[in-house]
């Protein structure tokens, strides 16, 4: 890991932010929210892997913690949606 790599990641994060702000003006409706969430997730993964050093993490337990959190949230959100949508 070098300082230059951190700066590249930072530039990538800013570029992704610029893309998502520009996209918002295009008004592409329902697809928009999916694109916005994909970009936000990509930015988060960059921060997790590079800034929070999960990429170079050797312990399996720590590598798995975030996927576990995301899976838990996905179950919460998924089950709540099925409840709301079938009422």
């Amino acid at each position: 890991m070098t300082a230059a790599r951190y700066i590249y990641i930072w530039i990538a994060l800013l570029v992704l932010t610029a893309i998502t702000v520009t996209m918002a003006d295009l008004n592409i409706g329902r697809v928009g929210i999916i694109v916005v969430l994909v970009i936000a997730s990509t930015k988060s993964i960059l921060v997790l892997l590079e800034f929070m050093h999960l990429r170079s993490e050797k312990r399996l337990l720590l590598k798995l913690l975030v996927p576990i959190a995301i899976a838990t949230l996905a179950i919460f959100i998924g089950l709540t949606y099925t409840d709301i949508l079938t009422r």
Binding site: L14, A24, V36, K43, F51, L62, L65, V66, F76
Partner: protein, 201 residues
């Protein structure tokens, strides 16, 4: 002794990540509430989002992303380069960016209050239910996030004093690393708050 110290470092990191997990679930619950109410009131959420300043939101996103860069460079300076002075300056920059974020946030909130857009305001009562819910969530979620920024700044300030007093060093950098993890998590939460509140109009 050596391996014991290393074990200690790993455990402290595991503990920090478990704490971050609980933070993810706290905000996750709020995002769930947001998703449900937005599904129920898509038009109102759309209209209310137009009241927010997209410029302020974008500016704050850039500020917070940059603060994450300076935070990680502070850790890098201490852990890899063993340059305590440089690490200290990067921490000062990180705290400064955190403060800048809060200043922008304060101006934004002040503008909302001026327009009567806050919970239980007279103006709010004239709005449709979905907009009331939107602003309720806006203040709750950005408020809780701002509280996290303040806590992060306090933690970083403590670490700054440790670096200066040689309490946090190249050999003993676990605390600084954990403080960095917390700061990055606060950044990640904002990465989701920003598009969901500012970019849906």
């Amino acid at each position: 002794m050596e391996s014991e110290a290393r074990e200690h470092k790993v455990f402290s990191r595991v503990g920090m990540w478990l704490f971050l997990l609980s933070e993810i679930l706290i905000f996750g619950g709020l995002f769930l509430v947001y998703a449900m109410y937005r599904a129920k009131h898509p038009v109102d959420f759309h209209a209310a989002s137009g009241e927010l300043s997209r410029f302020d939101g974008t500016l704050n996103t850039a500020i917070l992303l940059t603060s994450s860069l300076t935070a990680v460079l502070a850790i890098y300076s201490l852990q890899v380069l063993n340059k305590a002075r440089r690490a200290a300056w990067y921490l000062v920059a990180t705290i400064g960016f955190g403060f800048a974020f809060l200043v922008v946030k304060a101006f934004e909130w002040a503008a909302k209050f001026q327009h009567g857009l806050y919970p239980r305001a007279a103006e709010m009562a004239t709005r449709p239910n979905g907009e009331i819910l939107y602003f309720g969530l806006y203040f709750t979620m950005t408020g809780l996030h701002a509280l996290h920024v303040i806590i992060g700044m306090v933690v970083l300030a403590v670490l700054l004093s440790w670096v200066i007093r040689k309490k946090a060093t190249q050999q003993n950098s676990a605390a600084l690393e954990n403080a960095g993890l917390y700061w990055h998590l606060v950044d990640i939460i904002w990465i989701f708050l920003f598009p969901l509140f500012y970019l849906i109009s």
